[in-house]
Point group: C2
Chain length 448, copies 2
C-alpha cells in the first residue's frame, strides 16, 4: 500500500515562547461573567482587535470580558524571535492545531488564575481564517468554549469540497453588479495589457499610467503585474463595505462602485483608453488618500497581515484550490494544478502541502455531530464560496448577509450598515446568550 | 488468524516511517460493510490482535472488516528504527495526538483506496490506553469514526479528576474478597520484609525463598523488591479472569483466589512463615507453568508491552497520579508527589510532564457534548478507578461488568464467562448496529 501523508504535530520541544493576548474587562461581570475570545488569525492581534468593533459593542450587554489572542508566528508571538521564519525546521511548529492548542491552554490558564473566571463560559469569535479557527476550536475543544461565531470562514475551501472556480465567480459578480460593463472591461483588460506590453514604448506607457515605483521591463514583470491587478480586484470585492473604511487599504464607501466608474466603457474602447481606466480604478484602491507618490506592486494589502506565514500554512495544511475560466469570471483562464503548487512550495520552503489533511482533521462536510457554531457569510464576499451557507443542524447554523463583504458583521456598527447585518449581529448575540444560559445551567467541572 | 499484514507510510518531518496494521476481511460485506478498527495501544499490535477475540467473534454477524492499527513507537512501527528511543529529540513525536492523527489518516486512506470501503462506517475499539484512544478518537474525529468502544479506559485517571488512592483501593478489595486475611497478610508483608532484610542472612533467605535470579544485596534492592511485589499484586488484580488465560503471564482461572490460598495466615504467623507464603503466591504469577528456573525482578509482564514508551508518555502527557495510605489499601503509604515524579522524568528523558494538558486536550469531565461512546468497566479492574462509571448522556454510556477484570469484554468468549460480560458484549453489539444504521441513513460525504 502506498499512502498519503500523516500530520506531525509537535510542541515546541523543550522551549517556550511568549504568546501575546489583549484583555479588556471593563464590562466583565465577575464572578462567572462570559469571556468573548477573539481567535487570532494570520496577523498582528492589535489590528484584529481594532477591526472587531462588534465585540467591543456587545461587551457591556453581555457583561463579558474580551480576550484577543494572537496566533503563534504572527505579530509579536514569534516562537523563535527573528529566526521563526528562517527555515522549515523553525516553521515546523506553525500549524492550525498548534494554534488551537495555544488558545486552549491560554483559556484554561485564565480560568485557573483570574479570580472569578473559573466558571466563565467562553465564546470563540473570529473572521476569515480566524473564523475557521473559532469553528474548529469549538469542534476540537468543546470543553473550553461553549460556542463559536465563525464569520466569513471558508472551512470548505479545501480540495474536493467546493468548485475551485466559485471564489472568482463571486468577485466577478460584485463588479458586474457595481457598474455598467465593469466586469466585461476587466475581462478585456488582460488582452489589452498583453497587446500594449508587447512593445518597449508600451511597457513604459503602462508603467507611467499606473505610476509604478518600479517600471515594468520583462515578460515576468507583466505576469506579476497582471497577478497584482487580479489580487487588487479580489481585495476590493473582499472590502466592498457600505461606508468609508480602512481594512486592507483606506477606501471610500462601496469602493467597487467607485472603481467601476472608471470602467464603464462600451465595446469601441481602445486598449490604451481601457488601460487608462484600469489605472484610474487601481489608484482608487492604492491611493485613495492621495498620499502615494507611486504604486508598489509588492504591497497589495496592510502589512498587519503575515503574508509569508500564511503562504507557509497554505503550503502545508491550508491547501485552498482556486481556478478561473475567463467565462464565468473576468480573469485569464487558469486551472488548479496541485503539482505546480506543490513544487512552488517545495522551492520556497522545502515543504510539500498535505492536500487531504485539513479535511481529515477538521471533518470537511461531515461536521453534523458538533454543536453551537454560527457560520455567518457575506453575499459580496468571495470567501462565501468556501463557507457554510445552510443550517447543518439546529445548532450549526448559517447566517446570510446579502449586502455584506468580508465579515462585515464583526466590524463596528455604522449608520450605513444594511438591515441584513444589523439583523445578523442581533441574532448572533441571541445565540451567545442562549449558549451562556446553557453553560450556566450546567457549569463545567473545575479542573484545578 | 487470517489477516493481511500491511504497512502505512507516514511522513515524519521530512522523513517517513512505516506504520503496521493488520486487516481481516473474510466476513466483510462490501460495498459499505462496517470496519471495526482496533486502536492500538502501547505494544505490539499482533499481541492485541490475539487478545481481542471479541472483534473476531462479531465480525461475521456485522459483516465487518477488522483492522488492527499499531501505535507509533511500538511493536514494529518505529519512526526512527532502532534510534526511536535514543533521546528526547527522537521521542518528541510520541504523543497520543499523533497516534490519533495516524489512525485518522489510515482510515481515510483505506476508504479512498479499498474498493467498497468509501462509505463504510468505522467503529473504534480499544482497551486500556487503547480504549482511551478509541474514546478520544471519536471525540476528535467524529467524521472518521461513527462510534467507539472504550473498554477499561481510565480517561479520568489524570490530575484533579479522581482520588489518587482509588486505584490501589480496588486492588486491595480484590484480594480482600478472594481469600481469608489475604489483604491483611499482604499489608503485613512489607514490614516483615523490612525486618527479615535487616540482616545479611535474612537477605539471603529472602533471595532464596523467592528464587530471585539476582540475589538481594542492598537497601535499594529491597525497595525495588517491594515495588516489584506491589506491581505483581496490581497485575494479578488486572488479569483476575474467570478462566485460565495468558495475558500478562500464563495464569490459572481466578488467579487472585489461587494466590490467596498461600496467604490465609492468622495473626500469629511469623515473618518468615508469612514471607514464605508470599513467595509461593508470587510464584503463581511468575511460574505457573513451572518453566522459570528463577524469578527476574525486571520482568513483571509480557514483553509485548512497550514499557519504556509508556514511561515516556507518562512523563509527558499521560500523567496519572497514584497514591497509597496503607489503611484503605494494603500497601506502604506513599503520597502522590508531582515534583518528585517530574524530576525522575527529567533525569530519565530530559523532559518534564505537562500535568494539565490531558485534561485540556481531551476534556476531562466536560465531555457531554460528544456522542456514541461506550465506556465498559470491570468491577475487579483497578483501572475502574479512572473510568467513566455512569451514563453521561444517552449516547455516552457506561457498562459495568462486576465480575470482570481488565477489559474482559474484549476477550474471546469462554464457558466460564460470568453473565455480566455476556450481557455487556451483547449490548455493545446492539450499539454498534445502531451506530451503523445511523451512519447508513446519513452516509458520510466522500472526501476523495
Amino acid at each position: 500500500h502506498l499512502f498519503d501523508l500523516c500530520l506531525l504535530t509537535c510542541f515546541l520541544l523543550d522551549g517556550t515562547f511568549k504568546q501575546r493576548y489583549l484583555v479588556a474587562d471593563k464590562h466583565w461581570q465577575q464572578p462567572g461573567g462570559p469571556i468573548l475570545l477573539y481567535v487570532g488569525n494570520e496577523g498582528d492581534i492589535t489590528w484584529f482587535c481594532n477591526n472587531t468593533g462588534f465585540m467591543w459593542e456587545i461587551a457591556e450587554e453581555l457583561g463579558a470580558m474580551l480576550v484577543f489572542a494572537e496566533h503563534r508566528y504572527y505579530g509579536e508571538s514569534l516562537p523563535f524571535g527573528q529566526d521563526s521564519y528562517s527555515d522549515s525546521k523553525h516553521l515546523n511548529y506553525l500549524t492550525s492545531e498548534q494554534a488551537l492548542a495555544d488558545f486552549a491552554v491560554l483559556i484554561q490558564n485564565l480560568k485557573n488564575t483570574q479570580p472569578g473566571a473559573q466558571h466563565s463560559p467562553v465564546i470563540a469569535i473570529g473572521g476569515s481564517y480566524g473564523g475557521m479557527l473559532s469553528a474548529w476550536f469549538r469542534m476540537k475543544y468543546p470543553n473550553v468554549v461553549v460556542g463559536a461565531l465563525a464569520a466569513s470562514a471558508p472551512i470548505w475551501q479545501f480540495p474536493g469540497m467546493v468548485p475551485c472556480g466559485d471564489f472568482y465567480k463571486i468577485v466577478t459578480q460584485d463588479f458586474a453588479r457595481s457598474g455598467y460593463n465593469c466586469d466585461t472591461n476587466i475581462r478585456k483588460s488582460w488582452k489589452a495589457i498583453n497587446n500594449v506590453s508587447s512593445t518597449a514604448s508600451g511597457l513604459q506607457w503602462l508603467s507611467e499610467q499606473f505610476s509604478l515605483c518600479t517600471p515594468l521591463k520583462t515578460k515576468n514583470g507583466i505576469i506579476s503585474f497582471k497577478g497584482w491587478l487580479q489580487e487588487t480586484w479580489v481585495n476590493l470585492a473582499m472590502v466592498d463595505y457600505p461606508y468609508e473604511a480602512n481594512f486592507l487599504q483606506p477606501l471610500p464607501r462601496w469602493p467597487v462602485q467607485v472603481v467601476c466608474k472608471y470602467l464603464g466603457f462600451n465595446s469601441t474602447v481602445s486598449d490604451y483608453q481601457l488601460l487608462h481606466g484600469v489605472s484610474q480604478a487601481a489608484k482608487v484602491y492604492y491611493n485613495y488618500t492621495g498620499s502615494s507618490s507611486c504604486l508598489n506592486m509588492s504591497e497589495s494589502a496592510t502589512s498587519s497581515l503575515g503574508w509569508l506565514g500564511w503562504t507557509y500554512q497554505a503550503c502545508t495544511e491550508m491547501v485552498m484550490p482556486m481556478c478561473t475560466n475567463g467565462v464565468q469570471d473576468m480573469f485569464e483562464p487558469e486551472e488548479w494544478n496541485f503539482q505546480v503548487f506543490s513544487d512552488e512550495c517545495s522551492a520556497m520552503f522545502g515543504v510539500r502541502p498535505r492536500a487531504d489533511w485539513a479535511g481529515t482533521v477538521y471533518g470537511g462536510k461531515d461536521i453534523s455531530s458538533h454543536s453551537n457554531i454560527i457560520f455567518s457569510n457575506g453575499g459580496l464576499d468571495p470567501w462565501l464560496a468556501g463557507g457554510v451557507t445552510y443550517n447543518i443542524t439546529d445548532s450549526l447554523i448559517s447566517i446570510m448577509i446579502p449586502e455584506g463583504a468580508h465579515h462585515l458583521d464583526l466590524r463596528y456598527s455604522n449608520d450605513h450598515d444594511p438591515p441584513s447585518v444589523r439583523a445578523a449581529r442581533a441574532l448572533e448575540v441571541k445565540y451567545f446568550q442562549q449558549w451562556i444560559r446553557q453553560a450556566t445551567k450546567t457549569p463545567q467541572t473545575s479542573k484545578t
